[in-house]
């Protein structure tokens, strides 16, 4: 009896989180699946089971199709670019030079403020008018004409990716840096004695030992990239047309603004599956890679 009472006393500690988590995460998740099979419009209580109709409708909805395609493009491109830039940057920031602390802070700082704010600032830089900051630089330095950075479909996509790379590379470089600093210096000394050049040391010691950091960084970048909303929304409002709409923006648009709850829920469910599949695939692949390398 005493034991049971003690047991109960322990379990009480779990109650708050279980209530909150169930109410605000699990119940809505189940409800999303449920709503995606109905024609619920947010108001009328008289709604019907429509089977997979909403899921079929997804593929004929322009906003949704371009939302999925842009979000995937953004997630893949920004992940690849940031990873390719962050690793060399981390190696550079690990060297001993006079302004290294200033540079570390400078690269890391953009990850502190909200992405919305940073993207608004970049909206000013990429302003399409001839006196816009970036267009002025292009004209003065390269003699190029004004480019519609945020209103041309391809340039708008490129711009969002550039801003994301600018904002996040430093953060991921610091993540790699933390792993770099845990590599024992003896490894490099031993390699140097054996006659390995600086580049060989990076290729055969640094990069393989960074594999676990890469798994984490790529996982965060991919899942973060799939959930992206603020940067494209602040830069282009999702335009031109639906070109830079993200999945999140489409869910808000179709679901909350237009109250097509069924359709938006179907989109949410598909999004859930996309994130799940990509994240599982990436982590399994990269953990196998870790084992192979080490």
């Amino acid at each position: 009896m005493v034991k049971f009472l003690r047991y109960l006393q322990y379990e009480v500690f779990l109650l708050p989180i279980l209530i909150i988590y169930t109410l605000f995460t699990i119940v809505p998740l189940i409800r999303s699946f449920e709503l995606s099979l109905t024609d619920f419009n947010g108001y009328s209580t008289d709604y019907h089971f429509v089977g997979l109709k909403n899921y079929i409708k997804l593929f004929s909805d322009d906003a949704i199709v371009s939302g999925i395609s842009f979000t995937l493009t953004f997630a893949l491109c920004s992940t690849a670019l940031i990873t390719v830039l962050a690793i060399p940057l981390a190696i550079l920031l690990d060297q001993n030079f006079f302004t290294k602390h200033i540079h570390r802070a400078l690269f890391f700082f953009p990850s502190i403020p909200s992405g919305l704010l940073l993207a608004f600032i970049w909206g000013f830089i990429l302003s399409p008018v001839a006196s816009g900051v970036f267009n002025t630089i292009l004209r003065e330095v390269f003699g190029l004409g004004a480019q519609p950075w945020l209103s041309d479909p391809l340039l708008a996509k490129l711009s969002t990716i550039i801003v994301a790379v600018w904002a996040q590379t430093g953060w991921h470089a610091v993540l790699y840096l933390a792993f770099l600093q845990s590599i024992p210096k003896d490894y490099f000394e031993a390699a140097a004695i054996d006659g390995a050049s600086r580049l060989q040391q990076i290729r055969y010691i640094t990069l393989p030992l960074l594999a676990p950091a890469m798994t984490v960084s790529v996982m965060l970048l991919l899942t973060g990239g799939l959930k992206v909303f603020e940067i494209p929304f602040a830069l282009t409002k999702g335009g031109p047309g639906f070109e830079t709409h993200t999945i999140t923006q489409v869910i808000v648009l179709r679901g909350i603004s237009e109250t097509q709850f069924g359709l938006a829920s179907a989109m949410s469910v598909v999004f859930f599956l996309i994130v799940l599949v990509i994240a599982c695939f990436q982590v399994t692949m990269m953990q196998k890679r870790e084992e192979r390398i080490q």
Binding site: Q9, Y10, E11, F13, L14, P16, I17, I20, Y21, L23, F24, T25, V27, P28, L29, R31, S32, L35, G42, L92, Q95, N96, F97, F98, T99, I102, H103, A105, F109, S111, I112, P113, S114, L116, L117, F120, I121, W122, S131, T136, W171, V174, L175, A178, A213, V216, K227, F229, A234, I251, V252, G255, I256, A264, S265, S268, V269, F271, F272, L276
Partner: protein, 274 residues
Amino acid sequence: MTGSLKRSWILDILMLPVGIVMFFPFYLIIVNTFKSEHEAISRPMSLPGEWVFDNYKQVFEQTPILQSFSNSLILTVCSVLVMVLIGAMAAYPVVFNPNRLNRLVTLYLLAGFMIPFQTTLIPLFQLMTDMQLVNKLYGLILLYLGGAVFVFFLMMGYMRTIPKDLSEAAIIDGCSIWGIFWRIILPLLKPITVTSIIFQAMWIWNDFLAPLLFLSSRSNATLVLEIYKAKGEFTVNWPMFMTMTVITLVPIFIFFILMQKQIVKGIVGGAVKG
């Protein structure tokens, strides 16, 4: 020695242009707060021809920036404190009284990592409307508490490093389960608490989507939401908008300078464990 000294100077010079590119956007917003509307558009990159200080005064007069600052502060502080508390509480039985039920609960909670906020958004909107929690700061606080799952995960990892003898000795001394948590375990969690607070505070302070959907009136707007709304109003008045941005960035910058070590350690540590 001379060799390494020489190399360091080369890197300083090599990194300089990259550093300038990183800093350039911040230079732009600062310099344009001291310009007139016309000059910001026509000569965005140069230093102000005539220094204008009126923008700062006007932002405080024309926008509810102090109100939104205090909204953000209330929202962040309350959410994070409760989140850390219930996250730590949940980790306690899981680590110190492991049994089959608790293992199931752990799995149930960790599944939350795989559920994007966007997937639950439509039903959440409905739920918040039904419970009349829309446009209320405490409604949004309740919503954010779901983030306690991440705190739970960090706490669980850290708590495992606390020796079990500690709580067993306390039980023998007649301390209750409740007392052990508050008097012995909680004070020992300080390092991981700092990590959790930094991680979660930055998330909530910077969040845009949830305030956009769940806080409709201007008087309840968070700082980020207020900037979004101001951007709509000041469409062409860039100096005003930039001034507002600078005012927002100053406290963040001070926080960053003061806490740089903890922030880097906290974010990176949290990410690696997450």
